[in-house]
Amino acid sequence: MLALLTAHFAAALLAPLLVRRWGRTAFLMLAAVPGAAAVWALLHAPGVVAGHPVTTRIPWAPEFSLTLAFRMDALGLVMTLIAAGIGTLVLVYCARYFSDDEPGLGRFAGVLTAFAGAMLGLVLADDLIQLFVYWELTTVFSYLLIGHRAELRESRRAAMTALVVTTLGGLAMLVGVIMLGEAAGSYLVSDILADPPRGTVVTVALALVLVGALSKSALLPFSLWLPAAMQAPTPVSGYLHAAAMVKAGVYLVARLTPAFGDLPVWQVTALAFGAVTMVLAGWRALREYDLKLLLAYGTVSQLGFLTVLLGAGTRDAALAGLAMLCAHALFKAPLFLVVGIIDHSTGTRDLRELSGLRRAMPVTFWTAVVALASMAGLPPTAGFVAKEAAFEALTHTGPAGPVVLAAVVLGSVCTVGYSLRFLWGAFAGKPDVAPTPVHAPGPLFVAPAVVLAALSLAGGPLAGAVDPVVAGYADTVRWTGGAEAQHLALWHGVGLPLALSALCVAGGLVLFGLRERVAWLGHRLELVDADRVYRRTLAAVDSFALQVTGFTQRGSLPIYLGTTLVTVVVLSGIPIIQGRLWTMEAPPVRLWDSPVQLVPAIITVVAALGVLRVRRRLFAVVLVGLTGYGTATLFALQGAPDLALTQFLVETVSLVVFVLVLRRLPPRFSTPALRGRRLGNLLIGAATGLLVAAMAYFALAGRRAESISTGFPDAAREAGGTNIISVILVDLRAWDTMGEISVLAVAAAGVASLMFLRRRTQPVRGRPGERAVPLAAAPVADGTAGSAGAPWQPTVLTTAPRQLRVEPRWNPLWLPGAQALARERRSIVFEVIARALFPVVMLLSVYLLFVGHTDVGGGFAGGIVAGLGLMVRYLAGGRYELYAAVRAQPGALIGMGLVIATGTALAGAVFGTEILAGGAFDLHIPLVGDLHLTSALVFDFGVYLLVIGLVLDILRSLGARVDEQLEKESPTERQAEEVTP
């Protein structure tokens, strides 16, 4: 069986080549493949009927209990013959239906062959998952086939509709199948049939499977896709929408009925939906003008009928159902083919335009007559036999029997009605319509339809021969008792079924007679247009999606963050509240050590809240700084002068850096969001803050180990220092410090590389620094600069030079670099103070460096103090003053600092015991006093240099560099500034 399937798909792959080579004749070659399948099935038929199904089983993915399992029993045999047999004939038909130059014919041929393969797999699969795979494949292929005329908008839309509806059903079925398989413990259909599981899960699973089956077989409420799918080329309609694909749903119902036919969910669903569909679709068919649409609605109606029979769950109904299924395939397929012939020969399918075809196409006419007779259930056709059996079976089917029977009879009346309508519409001569011009169809074109119609006709008399095959399936269905087992026969004798058949014919004739009025009434009574509902649903989904998108995905960071924060608050709030976390034992929290702490605390809080209110960036920065100073004060009050000092210094540097950067930003924050939004943000922020505070508190509760800080005083003394912080930094945790200064160095490099980008990567030019003019020359050149009104402009010196030579000679100016500033920016007081203060500041920084190990201070603090000194010089004297103040490049300072620190560390390894091992010696310097020197001091010196380098780097890039940019960007502005003193 695997070989047959493989042959189908291989043929499908080859099809485009064949078509390219031989044109439409290639279809004849392709027809051999399903033909072979049909022959194979026929050869195995005797064995199967005798009760020996053909099986194959190959493991596919055993982890997920996926198996390639095939099994051909009686039902499988019938379905195989239908799928493969009609497939063969349709392919033959295609060889004449299409012209050689049809666009996309190769693809079409391939897909059609592949579809035949998928259909074959579907009916032979013994594994539910595998069945689902073929199920979806038929969906995809049918989508491609319906959309064959891709250039037609209608065609594309119809394909899409079919795909959406059947995929939806298919996926529902997948869930059902998985549930069923899990409940049964096996995905093998034969296992499930042998030992059907029961329970609520199974009920739900079956409901889902039925959704899939109903959608595939186009029952209400899923029927809309089938009429729409009539956009497909006629052979496709004949095959997919009459014989094969739509039967898949019915097949699935038939397949599972032996196991679940006694369950109410199964019976009720099948009977109710089947009966309603049969009546409504039959009624609808009575007012169609397009022959194909008429057949389409007829098909929907018949599929409802089949579902009723196969889902009823009794042996006789199953017998009738399978017989009807065969009969339907044998009469509906030729009818579609006939429509195709008519369409092909006359160019229209509208029954109002066709006239007089009876004479023009006699063979076609008689073919249609036979098929229609079978459809209407007239003796001696197969349709008649099946319908008789159906009536018979339904007369004793449970309590719902009479209602269902009435519905089926009503549906059959409609069937007869639309059969006549078809016959009249397609072939009759209409008095007010001119005979339609016809070009006669060739024999090969008509042959498939003739063969099928002949089988329809033969099916009646040969009913006895077919009976064992059909009964082979029906006997697997629960035997309800009552009347003796029914058999298919052309003549059952006079009885209720025969009477009902007669009633149907009579009713049908009446309906046909009143056809105009029926059509009118049908239009009047039309309740809902399924197509419109479908479109509206899609549109609604679309607009709903748009709204949801607009709501959730605005691209606004506050909203994204707000969503996350709210979720976090809710998620973590639940355990906190539910678990009554506050009842947990937690360490006592002191409010304060001394009430004085309250003052900086309040200032910090008020400043933090104030930041939220202010609109100017500068104020915000100052307020943020204030919170920092407040915290530093708290540190100081807590007894941590080192931390306090460092915090003060860092706060100051960051304030200056902020202000330097703020020059490039608008003075105010961007316009505020809506008041409500701000309020919301405020609430979210407050809630998150509360949560984090609560978590910090509860985290304390979790502490069980003693704090490591208790050992620090001893450790510091051991290391020879008395300043714990400093000892931690340069001795105990020197490794950490190493890491941190490396990060600082990297950060500095990052800042610099961003700001000095152009120089770094500009296309090659002269040696760096070459253009720089020795600054010493400047004051000479501008001896009268001050009086001339225009300040001296070292225009050539636009970038930071690599080297600056400041000649050491007496200079009457306080800050020589300040000469370059505009007059109104200069402040002589500031310059004097900066000049006077600078040496003091530098001395202080060196002092801090040296005493760090024993007293408040350290390399970091010292470095920052030195940086502040530079900062003052820059602020007072501008960027040339800065260049003049420190000749070294910041990169060099940073690098040297890093080298010294690393060197100390390595020296520890070389001279001592391990990396970063310390050493110490005491030095007595006259006048100064005793100096306790340690290797840690050298390490700290590295830190010191690095910090100076960092501050210098920041000043150069964010200060001097931005100055340059500002000057370059707005020369006019600057000039304007200059004229207005």
Binding site: P59, W60, A61, E63, F64, L66, I129, F132, V133, E136, L137, R156, M160, L163, V164, T167, L168, L171, L174, V175, I178, E182, V201, V541, A545, V548, T549, T552, Q553, L557, I559, Y560, L561, T563, T564, L565, T567, V568, L571, S572, P575, I576, Q578, G579, R580, L581, M584, E585, M695, F698, A699, A701, G702, R704, I708, S753, L757, R758, T761, P763
Partner: protein
């Protein structure tokens, strides 16, 4: 082992002996790390014109070597057992780890090929990311042909984080891995060559949101530590199993709090609703090769970590976290599917699709069983290949020759006529996303749904299937547009796939088909055979005592 080493807690023990480390088991990580470091040195010392070739060779060799070493390591595992732990039990080497690492490495190699693809001297990355978009400097750099070869070491570091993330056996290692993985990605996201402001905005958003989620992750770790007194997954698991015995009295809520916060951090990386909002913006803004890396590698790594945390550390409190995962999974599948319908940009659409797929994998996580783990693993591998291939296709469709990528789906109309092979590949990928049979997507979906159903999460599966129906709708819409619609007026220019991109697309196609048609060989290797697990597992016939036994955790 003593589940609660209280003595160890009371006084921090300072070891004087260096820990015994089995370097062979860490080899792939070390190789990638070393290559990253060498890559940094290459930036400093190799002359500019040769850098790209050197960097690419280095990165490719490192990744391939790491992959080979990963495969070799399979042999080092004890037969049938769960696995080993290395480096003071901070890294676990077990089957899931190796599978995730192997997958990540393959994805990384594929992404690297996309990253390295050059066309007329142009890569997907900005000539000089630090220049102001649209400025004179930028133009100068573009004309001078500047390149960011730093991309390669950054990618290597990100991959290192990805490899470490699912292998971490304690929370701190995991956090470090998270950061190592994320930081380079934040940066890489901002380096797109075109629409640079957009790219930079994406990077900033990603960074800010990511920083918050990392913070929550850390908070969660603190809470869990408060509960269990350890960050080691095995210890946490034992503590939970012992009902918190010996842990903080009444500390149960701390555990819940920890689960919630750690979950937030991980779900953010995975991109589950409501932490998904970064994904569309970032996927769209980032350079497409980086998007491919994130959509495959990061997702796999994040799910690997999520599975380990929730199966091992929190494996004993499934009942506690399952409701949360349920809600998140449902929200993820529904919301993302609905929103995806309206997307008009292919990269955004793929981003939402990635969110939906995360929801599908979450259904397997909810299962909390061996099948769930195997299903999730297969799904991730299958999805990863497909998505890398899809993004590779996206890089080829341009507005005009040498122009930006043409993201607008409407302009893709008729692509099936003009470039059938390319459009066919994309169609295959989309069908796999939709879960059509005979593609890897179907087997993956089936695996996760089956696991969820057998764990009693049928409603979740129903939601999942409905959402796949919606997603199938928009995938198919693209296919229809490409093959059946009239070509648009302003037709995009389809570049000829270079060798590298072509290889990636080819691998994607092959993997999608092979995993869909012959999933057996891969599935075989996903989970240890039931019953052959650890000693605990043997006491429970035919299964695993807990989900934790699926992983090495001792």
């Amino acid at each position: 082992m003593n589940p609660l080493p209280h003595t160890a807690l009371a006084a921090p023990v300072i070891t004087t002996q260096p820990p015994q480390i089995d370097y062979a088991l860490l080899a792939p990580l070390l190789v990638v790390f070393a290559a990253g470091v060498i890559g940094v040195l290459v930036e400093a010392f190799v002359p500019r014109p040769r850098r790209r070739a050197v960097q690419f060779t280095l990165a490719a060799l490192a990744l391939v070597a790491a992959f080979v070493l990963t495969v070799v390591r399979v042999a080092l595992l004890p037969a049938g057992g769960a696995g080993l732990t290395v480096a003071s039990a901070s890294i676990a080497v077990d089957r899931p780890t190796l599978f995730f690492q192997g997958t990540i490495l393959v994805m990384a190699i594929a992404s690297l090929l996309l990253i390295a693809e050059h066309r007329h001297g142009e890569s997907a990355f900005a000539a000089q990311a630090a220049t102001v978009p649209g400025s004179e400097e930028e133009r100068a750099h573009v004309l001078a042909g500047s390149q960011h070869t730093e991309v390669y070491p950054l990618v290597l570091f990100a991959v290192l984080g990805m490899l470490m993330f699912p292998a971490s056996n304690d929370f701190l290692t995991m956090f470090i891995a998270l950061e190592v993985m994320s930081l380079p990605l934040y940066l890489l996201c901002g380096l797109a060559r075109r629409r640079r402001l957009f790219s930079q905005e994406a990077a900033v958003k990603y960074f800010l949101l990511g920083a918050f989620s990392s913070a929550f992750f850390l908070f969660g770790i603190a809470m869990v530590y408060g509960y269990a007194g350890s960050v080691n997954f095995a210890v946490i698991h034992d503590t939970v199993a012992a009902g918190g015995a010996g842990a903080l009295p009444g500390g149960g809520p701390l555990l819940l709090l920890g689960i919630a916060l750690v979950g937030v951090g991980l779900l953010f990386k995975v991109g589950a609703v409501p932490f998904h909002s970064w994904k569309p913006d970032v996927y769209q803004g980032a350079p497409t090769p980086i998007t491919a890396l994130m959509a495959s590698g990061t997702l796999v790594a994040a799910f690997g970590a999520l599975l380990r945390v929730f199966y091992v550390a929190f494996g004993g409190s499934v009942a506690e976290w399952r409701p949360m995962m349920w809600v998140v999974a449902v929200l993820t599948m529904v919301l993302a599917a609905v929103v995806a319908v309206t997307q008009r940009d292919i990269k955004r659409l793929l981003a939402y699709s990635s969110v939906v797929h995360a929801g599908f994998v979450l259904t397997a996580v909810v299962a909390a069983s061996a099948e769930g783990l195997a299903g999730a693993m297969f799904y991730l591998a299958a999805y990863g290949f497909t998505t890398v291939g899809a993004f590779a296709v996206v890089t080829l469709v341009r507005v005009h020759e040498g122009g930006a990528e043409s993201g607008d789906i409407a302009s893709w109309a008729g692509l099936g006529r003009t470039s059938p092979v390319l459009a066919g590949s994309l169609a295959l990928f989309l069908l796999a996303f939709a879960g059509i049979p005979l593609t890897s997507g179907f087997i993956g979906k089936f695996a996760v749904f089956e696991a969820a159903v057998s764990a009693g999460a049928t409603p979740l599966v129903v939601v999942g299937v409905l959402s796949s129906a919606v997603t199938a709708f928009f995938y198919v819409r693209i296919i229809v547009l490409m093959f059946f619609a009239e070509p648009a007026e302003a037709r995009p220019r389809v570049l000829r796939p270079g060798r590298l991109t072509g290889a990636v697309i080819g691998v994607g196609v092959v993997a999608t088909l092979v995993l869909g048609v012959f999933p057996g060989p891969v599935l075989d290797r996903l989970s240890p055979a039931p019953g052959a697990g650890t000693a605990e597992a043997q006491s429970v016939p035919g299964g695993f005592a807990t989900t934790a036994d699926l992983f090495a955790n001792r």
